[in-house]
């Protein structure tokens, strides 16, 4: 329970809410440093973790908003694949990389828009709608790609995406930039405030003049844009557009948001937490590879960690 004292000292549970995810991240890094010091203290390690986590963090940033309004977006993996495939097709057919990237992100926005329109017009839970569009968007990806990978992008694109600025990969810079923009949106804009209100209490939001459908639509467009940007980053990293790309990525995105302290019941969560959640997952994955844990066992560990971290979070913070 929150403290009733006059001066607000930081209680343990409040400290946990604010810095808990950061603490876990640091703890994981320390464990890794102790177990494999030779690998750990190399800049390439940090670079690798950052660039591996970027795609997941980008998707999770969009997913965060869907969860914030007590919804979910299961289609993000397919959106990454479809907008990535669309971009790839444009680039190999001679469109300039900049135009292709912009159109690809726009495609992500459009797919999110479709999700939002469907949720609003049917009144069904986003879980059902995005479960459906997950299959539809994936199917469209397979159709337009003829079920085969697309590669051979202009050298300028590949070069740009492989760059590092002060050891920081471009992918990570993109993710950080998007996170900063969205943090601004959640903290400083009325739109952001309204989304929290809608997630906290739909009915109260409606009676307070908040247009529920409009905000729901915007949330899914944001989720689509984030997935579209993740599509760009993935394309840059892999060097080709695979029709089966990003399959199952929604799971990691949801996990990152939840580990980062986003409430599944809506209305609570922070962008900073989502970034931490994404990094935690990235470090765990990297660490298990480093410790040569088999990929099958990695799945088990990941699942257990999701349940464990959220349980710990609820337990320590005493949240309902």
């Amino acid at each position: 329970m929150p403290t009733k004292t006059k001066e607000r000292e930081l209680t343990f549970s409040q400290a946990w809410q604010r810095y808990g995810t950061l603490g876990i991240l640091v703890l994981l890094l320390v464990i890794l440093a102790i177990l494999r010091p030779s690998f750990f203290f190399k800049t390439s390690t940090i670079t690798q973790i950052l660039s591996q986590s970027s795609v997941n963090i980008l998707i999770a940033l969009g997913e965060f908003f869907a969860i914030l309004i007590a919804g979910i977006d299961l289609s993000v993996g397919s959106v990454v694949a479809l907008s990535g495939m669309f971009m790839a097709k444009l680039m190999v057919s001679g469109t300039s990389p900049i135009a292709a990237v912009l159109l690809g992100v726009l495609m992500g926005a459009l797919l999110g828009f479709i999700n939002g329109i469907l949720v609003n017009s049917t009144g069904l839970h986003p879980f059902i709608i995005t479960l459906g569009t997950q299959a539809i968007f994936r199917g469209v990806t397979l159709i337009i790609s003829d079920s085969s990978a697309v590669f051979g992008f202009p050298a300028s694109f590949s070069r740009f995406m492989a760059q590092r600025i002060f050891y920081v990969p471009v992918a990570a810079i993109i993710a950080i930039a998007v996170a900063l923009i969205l943090a601004f949106l959640t903290k400083q804009t009325k739109l952001g405030r309204n989304i929290y209100a809608l997630g906290g209490n739909r009915e109260s939001a409606w009676y307070s003049g908040i247009n529920i459908k409009l905000h729901t639509l915007i949330v899914f467009v944001i989720s689509g844009i984030c997935a579209g940007i993740a599509g760009v980053v993935l394309l840059g990293r892999v060097g080709s557009a695979e029709p089966a790309a990003a399959t199952g990525f929604e799971t990691y995105a949801i996990a990152a948001a939840i580990i980062g302290g986003t409430s599944f019941f809506g209305g609570k969560g922070k962008i900073f937490g989502v970034v931490m959640g994404g990094l935690i997952i990235g470090v765990i994955n990297f660490g298990m590879n480093l410790l040569s844990v088999s990929s099958t066992l990695q799945q088990v560990v990941m699942g257990a960690l999701i349940i464990g971290s959220v349980t710990l979070d609820r337990f320590v913070a005493g949240r309902k």
């Binding site: 929150p2 009325k190 209100a197 906290g200 003049g209």
Partner: protein, 509 residues
């Protein structure tokens, strides 16, 4: 007649409020015992003690000569007490027969296993359904039934459990006239079979028709028990009213009729017929109250005015200028405010602190593009919160405190604060003091009067008559979706308001 259940000197205290103050009540075999009283009089609490939901603070319950200091739901069920709540508890997905025997379905052996014996269920169900006059196949899914048929299933369920006492909480609230007639037929049959019926209702005409005895409660206290054959409707009204009104908030010398009309509604109707051709005017400085039974259309009208629910016809004016309210957003932009009935569901945001709750409204009101454009100003937010904390005397250690930590009265002030921070002109209060302690109540009344004096329009929907009588300059009485009468506060009494709101359609008032 044999006494089935007797409650003696039952006291129930909730934190800060005495819900029942030494009530005695008995139920005899073969009678309909009516329980009457205003909202909050203690009827439901008394019945919840009998059904084992609440544990009495003191008192005794005697069933068949056995004395209990409290009942568990299981005791209650085992001793033959069934309650039919207003919100029916049948399970829509199951068949009628399964509903009747749920929890103790007859089983049959099938090899090593036991399975549900559906033929036995249907056979026994058919007999019981006949008793309650429901001509339906027991295999029918309950979701296919009408409300009155579902109610018959509830009664059948009580019979299937071999209940001796059946408590019906406002059973006629959602029934048509002919459905009420068939319900009464069933009740008469149950009486002949020796059951004891507790009938909770507000409708005096019905009570006179079906009741044998009546017990009246008021503010948790016992008023009296009478034989219905020996009293009139007027006697019932007299027994129900007469609560002391501690203070009046009207200005006695003030004549608002000469003041300008600041708000007007003309010929408002809803497609669902819950509001039919309603018109009223509000003058500067006047507090207009809306009385009527629950479901008579008062809240429905307010929701339509505020744009939260659709209207089919009608015009709305603020200061003589017509406004369109197609959504709460458009209503808010024009200066309307609505303090809703359920704070928790439609009032505040549990995930926001006090300051954030208050600033939601001014932020939305000052934003463009349908409420999405613009930036949040922490400075404005803090200033609005401090202003309202000061003005409304919100008791908190900081405006950064979560609203869910506050008392009901202070939560209500926060909600009022968000509307005042948005500089609303016309404020609709729907049950403004529901679940609020006495001290905060009078504070809220004073606030409402102050707002009216400052030139804000104040409209109040309340089911508590003493509340309306002590704060309103004018009281409009709703019945079946229409305003049937306006009373000036000088002529308004509990008697004439209850008469106006409960009289049957054909009667003259």
């Amino acid at each position: 007649m044999k006494t089935l259940v007797e409650m003696k000197n039952v006291v129930k205290k909730f934190p800060g409020v005495t819900a029942l103050d030494g009530i005695s009540f008995d139920i005899r075999s073969g009678e309909v015992h009516v329980l009457l009283g205003e909202n909050g009089a203690g009827k439901s609490t008394l019945m919840k003690i009998l059904s084992g939901v609440h544990k009495p603070t003191s008192g005794e319950i005697i069933i068949d000569g056995k004395a209990f200091d409290h009942l568990t739901p299981h005791d209650s069920y085992k001793n033959g007490i069934s309650v039919i709540y207003q919100e029916l508890s049948v399970i829509n997905e199951l068949s009628i027969g399964e509903n009747l025997f749920i929890g103790r379905l007859p089983m049959k052996k099938l090899g090593f296993f036991e399975t549900v014996d559906h033929s036995e269920i249907n056979k026994r169900a058919r007999e019981i359904l006949e008793t309650v006059g429901l001509n339906r196949d027991p295999k029918t899914a309950v979701e296919e039934l009408s409300i009155s048929e579902k109610q018959q299933v509830e009664i059948a369920k009580a019979l299937a459990a071999d209940s001796k006492v059946i408590i019906m909480d406002e059973p006629t609230a959602s029934l048509t006239n002919s459905e009420v007639e068939s319900l009464f037929k069933i009740i008469r049959r149950l009486k002949r079979d020796g059951k004891g019926i507790v009938f909770i209702s507000h409708k005096l005409g019905e009570i006179m028709e079906i009741g044998d005895r009546v017990t009246v409660l008021k503010d948790g206290g016992y008023v009296g028990t009478k034989n219905i054959s020996q009293i009139t409707q007027d006697d019932l009204v007299t027994m129900m009213v007469g609560r002391q009104i501690s203070k009046n908030y009207q200005h006695d010398t003030f004549d608002f009729e000469n003041e300008p009309v600041i708000f007007e509604v003309a010929n408002l109707s809803r497609k669902d017929n819950k509001v039919r051709d309603v018109s009223f005017k509000l003058h500067k400085g006047e507090i207009l109250g809306f009385s009527g039974l629950v479901g008579s259309g008062r809240s429905e009208m307010m929701n339509a005015i505020f744009g939260a629910e659709p209207k089919s016809a009608g015009r709305i004016f603020i200061d003589g200028e017509e406004i369109k309210t197609s959504s709460p957003y458009s209503a808010i932009k024009k200066g309307l405010a609505m303090v809703t009935e359920n704070r928790r569901e439609t009032g505040f945001f549990h995930n926001f602190d006090i300051a954030e709750n208050i600033s939601v409204l001014p932020f939305v009101k000052t934003s463009g593009a349908g409420g999405i454009s613009g930036l949040v100003s922490k400075k404005d937010e803090a200033q609005w919160a401090d202003e309202q904390k000061e003005k409304l005397n919100i008791k908190c250690y900081s405006t950064k405190q979560l609203v869910s930590e506050l008392s009901g009265g202070n939560q209500q002030k926060v909600i009022l604060g968000k509307w005042l921070a948005a500089d609303s002109k016309i404020i609709i209060f729907d049950e403004p003091t529901k679940g609020i302690d006495v001290g905060s109540k009078s504070e809220i009344y004073s606030l409402m009067r102050r707002l009216a004096d400052e030139g804000k329009g104040v409209l109040v929907v309340s089911s508590e008559l003493p509340e309306l009588l002590s704060i309103c300059d004018t009281i409009a009485v709703f019945r079946e979706g229409k305003i049937v009468k306006f009373f000036n506060h000088r002529e308004a009494t509990e008697e004439n308001i209850i008469h106006a709101s409960t009289a049957q359609e054909s009667e003259e008032i």
